[in-house]
Symmetry: C2
Subunit: 189 residues, 2 copies
């Protein structure tokens, strides 16, 4: 309603809040971080948060939405740099780079699922949508790689992806390399 006159200011506070939420939620968990901590980190007022997001749950959902959107953009940019028949494997190069980045400590989507058991939480639907998106991309890339049984191989790569990010959180990037090794073995034969 009042978003025309000062759209920039709007985006500014909203982005500050989202930046702070992103950092704190990913680092310490959604439940462990209270509103006040997000406000302090963002240098924002409580009223601003509730004006822009309406509730903490919606802030969490916005955090997840931005994470998933940016992840899709990064993955597409990274994978599409390879020729079509190499893209399925290239996803696991992306995973290796991701889990070896210094601030990696687990998959935010998996954490959301572990923290928010309530199926009605708005963030869970976004996580499921992200999985559907990845499953579709994998099916494309596996088809382009010339695999014989596309759904079976794509499903297997989905398992490898989940296992790579879950395992790397606790065992280090070794698990991502293990996943890449097996993906290569699965795709080149």
């Amino acid at each position: 309603m009042a978003a025309q006159t000062s759209k920039f200011t709007d985006a500014c506070v909203r982005d500050r809040l989202l930046d702070a939420a992103d950092e704190l939620f990913y680092q310490h968990g959604v439940q462990a971080v209270g509103i006040d901590r997000v406000l302090a980190e963002a240098g924002a007022a409580k009223a601003s948060l509730y004006a822009h997001f309406g509730s903490k749950d919606e802030l969490v959902a916005a955090y997840v939405e931005r994470r998933t959107r940016e992840a899709r953009e990064k993955i597409v940019a990274y994978v599409d740099a390879a020729p079509p028949d190499a893209r399925a494997l290239r996803l696991f190069d992306f995973v290796v780079e991701w889990v070896e980045s210094p601030d990696f400590h687990g998959c935010p989507m998996q954490h959301i699922v572990g923290e928010l058991h309530d199926d009605a939480h708005p963030a869970r639907a976004l996580v499921l949508a992200q999985r559907s998106w990845l499953a579709e991309r994998l099916a494309e890339w596996v088809r382009d790689a010339g695999a014989s049984d596309v759904p079976q191989v794509a499903g297997a790569l989905m398992v490898l992806f989940d296992g790579a990010v879950a395992g790397s959180e606790l065992d280090g990037s070794r698990r991502a390399h293990d996943a890449r090794w097996m993906a290569k073995r699965l795709l080149t034969r």
Copy 2:
């Protein structure tokens, strides 16, 4: 100190509390369930909980300890029913059965990791110990299966295990079957 005279009564309340905690923590998450809810479910007094466990964190740790111990017993019993060279693959039969059991909704260990980001939490050490145990068993079973590169194959199977349980929570048991399919392919050649 006073555990001799009425050991049975001791075990009774403690077990009731642990049973209630197990059900509620696994169903709704560790953070979402308060002490009072556990007490009501167990029909116990608050003083009993603090006499036996000392704090909620220790109750959580006891919950994880029992889950991991029982999981090890179940896995060993299930897998050892197969001849040594078939045990690595047999683990994935176990996973399929587990994720297809009606009350399955994710791996409690993965949920603990997602919920408790604090490395100092007593429950996290138990989760890591459980992973080490599984990694060692996998190395044994892979060696007995006659694989050429034992550490590499065992690491790959660890990824498959993690991916199977993580994926099955959201996508259904299909992911566990995908993992078994790939494990078989990896082991029989």
